[in-house]
Amino acid sequence: MAGKKKKILGIVCERSVDLKKHIKNNKLKDKDNVSILEMVCSGMIQPIMIEEGLKAGADGVFVMGCQIGDCHFREGNRWCQDRLLGLRPPNIKKAIDRNRLRGYWLAKCDYKKFIEKVNKFEEDLNNLPEKETVKEPAKAGA
């Protein structure tokens, strides 16, 4: 794994940071190790989707919604934040390594801040020990 870029999956609200110009083939143009999946609202993100992302080979998953307090659909980003924090059902599985999850709450014009945060996330992932796939219950079932 040494030298290889960490794979990052971003599940993103289409109304937060405007990524339409920065995406090609679902990858960020500036950072091709970051895959982006756009959603109607961050509130639509199911914990299964986050788990699925890690299972499918991502080293880290981040969720991005609008600034807390300003959701187009009123409460979506708050529900999503609460789910990431484990305050609202359905919960994310306990087996999931919380170090590999991030939640960003940024406004439409925050692209610079977004890239900074993703870079920081990548750095953090590089500092983490190798992903232990054995712990994944799905792996045992396969």
Binding site: N25, N26, D32, L37, V40, M44, M49, H72
Partner: protein, 377 residues
Amino acid sequence: MYKKILDQLQILTISFEKWTNKVFSQQYNPFYYHGAVPNLFMWTLFVTGLLLFAYYQPTLDSAYISVNYISNKLPFGNIVRGMHRYAADAMMIAVLLHALRVYFTDRYRKYRWIAWYSGVALIGCMLVIGITGYILVWDERSYMIVLMMADALKQIPAIGPPLAEFFVNGEMITHYTLAMSFFLHVGISFLLLYLLWLHYLRISRPVTDVPLGLGLLLMASIIIPAAVIPVSSGKPAVLIQVPAEFPTDWFYLWLFPMFSSMPAMIVWTVLFIITTILLAVPFLIIDEPKSPAQVLLDNCVGCTLCAKDCPYEAIYMVPRTDHPKFKQLAIVIDARCAECGLCVGACAFKAIDLPQKHSKEIIAKIGDVLKEPVGVG
């Protein structure tokens, strides 16, 4: 074109709010409580209005005297009166900002049209309440308002003359004129509450209260001006003398400079056109046909999570009898659904989904998105 301008305005609004976040912090940003701020001012008006109500006398002879009595003799009467005036102005500012923000951020149409329509009606009521409120003081300005308003109303064809008579409460200005203004001022305030109920319909957990810190700040913004620049009446109205000019309140009395500079019929036509445009605005942009969320009968376990999370009261739980174990079933009211997918995020059983953006497809897509070898894109 129209859509592009709106998009730019939305970005402008959001950047402005980002900047206010730096000043107020996210938790106290007044723009995140843009609906609750007018509400705070409205309740301030109700409370201060109740205090004024206790001492006000709606007759030609004593109205002016009783208002001055409140201002000069009653302890804190001055401040209460000032708060009533300044809160009214602040409420108008807050309401207009609220409307502008909702418009700029595209939150006024589709499933939100009821809120927009009731909002237009609320602003109309506020104008009537404001104008009649200025009559109650019964100084020269009040007298002019009654004269000009009656005159302007008379010029509307067919319904005009009876309306004018209703407004003046008779052929000429008497004690009953003030009684009518008083009735309209207080009565329509209660109509506000009914319209507010309409305004809150279809919204689960409406944000009606500002955080304490912001509330104190906003209250200070009315109480301090009320104490520093006390509100005072003009010269008392004398029915034989028509005053030449009077100071205008630009939030509620902007109609009257218009009345004095152009024929009343033109003003009414302009008002009518503005209202029509406002009522048409939610339907100017045409969208794709609706595809509301759908519940899968077989998967729904009746856990109520989606009904709790729905921000528009579109999901209800109904009893079910077709399943041996589960006693409840979620149903979606199509007309209210915003297609936001919050219910999909709340469901752990894959029982509710948006037909256009199916969660199964999204999950399948996750694999595809990641599978592509890094660097190909």
